[in-house]
């Protein structure tokens, strides 16, 4: 292994001068600088980041805590993070927590030991327990695709309640008035309760509040959950003409159930998804869905963490990026509209 010492020897200068050509080249006289640069090339010298980090207290490495990389939603967020990190000269250490507290604590410990500059906690509710943990480890944290209301932690996500509201209003505007929902777990304060209550707010424009819950089923965002929830919903409300589903994956499960019992989407029942993951445009029918800017969420989270590390002023503690409505083929416009002036 070649070290700074070898470079110094070969180029006939001191270690400090070699260090200078790497960190402040303009402070070294041109002739020496060139000699050093030549030696670096010849010896294929690469400075040891461990030694450097030991002094600088910076590793240019970020830890990313995610539930599971193989989740299509998460993997797009990560992609945004990695691009942002790359553009800033940092790297990402990937940690799949599997929602397992023990595994998470273990990662936190290792990341601390490896001296990562900061951590991004992604896509899972941030509980009081976690907050205590992070306090203990005392590392800069940014939340991506999640947030904390009780604690002052920087975060980046969409406005899920508004998204739920917009979803409901979209279906209403399309002429539906027998509208169901397959929500995430109501105990999930990030993507569950928020979208649920936004949807209910929209529904309250056409329905008495008390009756809305009869049109809502729940599931944990997975395909199978969507299938089962749709089954329950349909048995309860066979007149339903449109369903808002809180994730694309569940939406596919719901469509699968409808398809199985011979109900066509969107001709007989419309389905509105959530996320706009890649699958949404590959299935039949192509999914109309609430689009999250996953890449941007990841990217912004990293930029925010970087700003935090450089103790720059944060423009806002909790950032909310815009969602969109991506219109494709799974929602049908009903001709007989309830409010035709909309």
């Amino acid at each position: 292994m070649t070290t700074i010492k070898d470079v110094a020897k070969l180029s006939g200068v001191s270690m400090s001068t070699v260090s200078r050509v790497m960190n402040a080249p303009e402070s070294v006289r041109a002739d020496k600088r060139e000699k050093v640069e030549k030696a670096i090339r010849e010896l294929r010298y690469y400075p040891n980041a461990l030694a450097r980090g030991l002094i600088s207290k910076r590793t240019e490495t970020l830890g990313v805590l995610i539930p599971d990389v193989s989740n299509p939603y998460v993997s797009e967020v990560i992609r945004g993070m990695e691009d942002a990190a790359h553009s800033l000269g940092s790297n990402l250490i990937l940690c799949n927590t599997d929602r397992n507290q023990e595994r998470m604590i273990n990662y936190l410990k290792v990341l601390k030991e490896k001296q990562v500059d900061g951590i991004i906690y992604t896509s899972e509710p941030f509980t009081a327990d976690f907050h205590k943990l992070f306090e203990e480890f005392n590392m800069p944290v940014v939340l991506a695709s999640t947030q904390s209301i009780e604690y002052e932690i920087p975060s980046v996500k969409i406005n899920d309640e508004k998204a739920g509201y917009d979803a409901g209003m979209y279906l209403i505007r399309k002429g539906h008035y027998k509208i169901g929902m397959i929500s995430g777990p109501i105990e999930d304060p990030i993507a569950g309760y928020t979208r649920y209550s936004g949807f209910k707010k929209a529904m309250s424009e056409i329905l008495p509040m008390e009756t809305i819950d009869a049109w809502i089923e729940f599931g944990s965002y997975r395909y199978e959950d969507g299938y089962e929830a749709m089954k329950r919903l349909y048995k309860k409300q066979p007149e339903v003409t449109a369903v808002f589903v809180a994730s694309d994956e569940m939406a596919l499960g719901a469509i699968s159930y409808l398809h199985q019992i011979g109900i066509s989407v969107p001709e007989e029942v419309s389905v509105l998804g959530f996320d706009n993951t890649k699958i949404a445009k590959m299935c039949i029918p192509k999914l109309t869905t609430i689009g999250q800017p996953m890449y941007d969420i990841g990217q912004k989270a990293v930029f925010k963490l970087e700003a935090l590390l450089n103790s720059e002023e944060l423009d806002e503690l909790r950032s909310y990026l815009d969602h969109t409505i991506v219109e494709r083929d799974s929602v049908k416009e009903l001709s007989r509209k309830l409010y035709s002036n909309w």
Copy 2:
């Protein structure tokens, strides 16, 4: 920041003793050990992995070079890698190369500087150029979901040629004899040419070799490629009853085209996919597909790299894991079989 010195002081022993309780506890007398452990807990001391790595020449960190995390196939491989790494006490640094040589070189440089123990190069052909690069950087490498024939580099993948052959034979066995293929690029020696030639070999059992190519189109594994390739194939061979498609994503594109022109899958045309990514069981019809053990590929690649780092004997340089045929709903059995005794 608390260091080993602080722990030594508080527990009234020397730094070496503290070091020992962390690395060889049994070599320290119980009473002192307990004192040290208590101090560690009280001070919330975490050893600095940079300092340790500087000495041990090990960082317990691996670099992973992948084209793109947000690719569903890749993200499953990564998941296997990460679990394996975690079980071995290592971490993964994620590097999206985007098939961009410059970006890859940059990553290699940084990974070298950060003293990662080794690198896993994933899912892209390993060219002579890359080999030269890796030689220059002189870091242990394992290939995952790809391989090198010319160079002696450990690798883990499936036997793509056999998989292509099995795919063809499967369709023949299902009674088809007007069988098309949508292949990956023939210049891709990993997943393109291999599956293509395996398929041709199978077809040669029912067709003269010269005519087979008239039934094959090409695409770069993406949805849109599948759509376009299916269009070309269908125009050329409207009598086709089954198509083997070299990726699930392309298969979905192919199905989309067929659906659009009113041809139902599998009633009129059967489609056999490749990979068995998560989407395969979420679409309609659910995809019958050649299943790759993505998780296992990732896992095994990491274990292999670890063995390499510990200079253990590798049981085999190039590992080939088994593929499977996952039967779902997109392939129909034709009653009028060509070889009814099969």
